[in-house]
């Protein structure tokens, strides 16, 4: 139920005064309410939960996390006993 799925904003529009959008989840497109991240732009990535965008996915942070994971254990190996 707290399942949040990453997707890319494809379109934006307003319905009954609320920011809405179409979000692409790897080919599956769904209508999503953008009211909680109203400045999400087309092309940006978000986490969607029960039809609502909850947060903007930050590409720089994602890359930093992956870079950190790639570096885990590497230093130990290089500085450890030969």
């Amino acid at each position: 139920m707290c399942l949040g799925i990453p997707g890319r904003v494809d379109e934006r529009w307003e319905a009954d005064g609320m920011a809405m959008g179409t979000v692409d989840f790897g080919g599956v497109r769904k209508e999503v309410c953008l009211a909680y991240v109203p400045d999400l732009q087309v092309g940006e990535w978000t986490i969607v939960h029960v039809g609502f965008a909850l947060t903007r996915l930050d590409e720089a942070s994602a890359q930093e996390t992956l870079a950190l994971m790639r570096s885990v254990g590497i230093l130990d190996g290089e500085l450890g006993p030969a």
Partner: protein, 370 residues
């Protein structure tokens, strides 16, 4: 797929596992609070790939599992009324009440509809002005902004035929209850990343402080979960207890302020009975008094509810991490997803369902799927 495949890379998973194995010197008990993470762990065999010293305790973070039995019975009574269209997330449909479930109410002619988004329920109310439309608003902090929005929408659209049956629960008071319990075993927590997208991370600092327990905000992909575990284990091994965020691509310190504003407008904090666990003070949200007109509990008098839990179901112990699902005598025999005795066997976040789906046949653990 972006943000999914990268965080399931088996080479990086092995590296994180090796680092955990290199760091660990003694037994540690780490709880993943969220049932979504439990499923990532069991599906990918992460618990079996970890060094034996690291035990994962599955937490109570399964909203349909902890929704009180009395509330389920109330939902069933409302859903059975001929004037009602009852809307619910699909996860709730087979959750057993005292004697019934929503699926059976539907099979007897009740108008029970599964919605993907709470806003779908508002639309159904618009399209059916001659019916009462009730939405079962359950969930943790992650789901509350979506559920709260239905009230604002219904108000804006002037819908007199829409109401909400609310049973929201909150993570920090549950962590407090676990740490105050005499049976407390947990030494570090993976905090649920999507709860924190809404609420931010600051709520957890006082818990880290009060109980000297590491709390690491953690995502849901296999690498996210491994990284969360790695950071908790490193803290424990180094004698540290800090609040850390291993899911920064989605979680900021302050969270989603607009969502918090709407939730604070629509809901108010209340004591909440957690199914299988008991009452936890100030651990839930109910509709705020100014929105009482949208409260299904007040709109529908369904008489006295005498809730009766199955005496054979040990889901309370499962939800508190006291036993693993397979230790329950009924697991996989009397209790299956088709004939569940308790909610954790049917929810997509329930620990019993995860074990039934991925462990029942004793399938060997495999590395996270690439």
């Amino acid at each position: 797929m972006r943000y999914l495949d990268e965080f399931a890379d088996p080479v990086l998973a092995r590296r994180l596992l090796d680092d955990i194995a290199a760091a660990v010197t003694r037994p540690w008990a780490v709880m993943e609070v969220c049932g979504g993470q439990t499923h990532t762990i069991i599906r990918n065999g992460i618990d079996q790939l970890l060094p034996a010293e690291v035990e994962l305790i599955h937490g109570p973070g399964c909203p349909v599992c902890v929704t009180p039995l009395e509330t389920i019975d109330r939902a069933l009574a409302i859903a059975a009324r001929p004037d009602v269209i009852f809307c619910s997330f699909g996860d709730m449909i087979r959750v057993p009440g005292s004697t019934d479930d929503l699926f059976r109410v539907k099979s007897r002619g009740g108008d029970v509809r599964v919605v993907y988004s709470p806003l779908d329920a508002v639309r159904i109310a618009q399209q059916n002005p001659d019916k009462q439309v009730v939405f079962f608003g359950i969930g943790f902090e992650t789901t509350a902004p979506a559920n709260a929005m239905t009230v604002l929408m219904a108000d804006r659209l002037g819908l007199a035929n829409f109401s909400l049956l609310v049973s929201h629960v909150l993570v920090p008071p549950a962590i407090t209850a676990l740490m105050e319990s005499p049976e407390r075993r947990v030494q570090g927590f993976l905090a649920a990343g999507h709860v924190c997208t809404v609420m931010g991370t600051s709520q957890y600092a006082p818990l880290v402080e009060a109980y000297r327990v590491p709390i690491v905000v953690t995502g849901f992909e296999p690498l996210d979960v491994l990284e969360g575990i790695r950071r908790v284990v490193l803290q424990l091994e180094q004698g540290r207890a800090e609040l850390d965020n291993a899911y920064p691509r989605a979680v900021s310190a302050q969270g989603n302020l607009e969502a918090q504003r709407v939730v604070a407008d629509v809901f108010t904090v209340t004591d909440r009975a957690w199914r299988g666990i008991g009452v936890i003070p100030a651990s839930g949200w109910r509709l705020a008094d100014r929105w009482a007109a949208y409260d299904a509990e007040q709109r529908f008098d369904v008489g006295g509810i005498a809730a009766q839990e199955s005496p054979r179901c040990r889901s309370g112990e499962v939800l508190q991490g006291l036993i693993k699902p397979a230790q329950c005598e009924a697991f996989g025999t009397d209790c299956t997803p088709r004939t569940p005795l308790g909610a954790p066997m049917v929810s997509s976040e329930g620990a019993c369902a995860a074990y039934y789906q991925f462990r029942r046949l004793g399938a060997p653990a495999s590395a996270p799927a690439g």
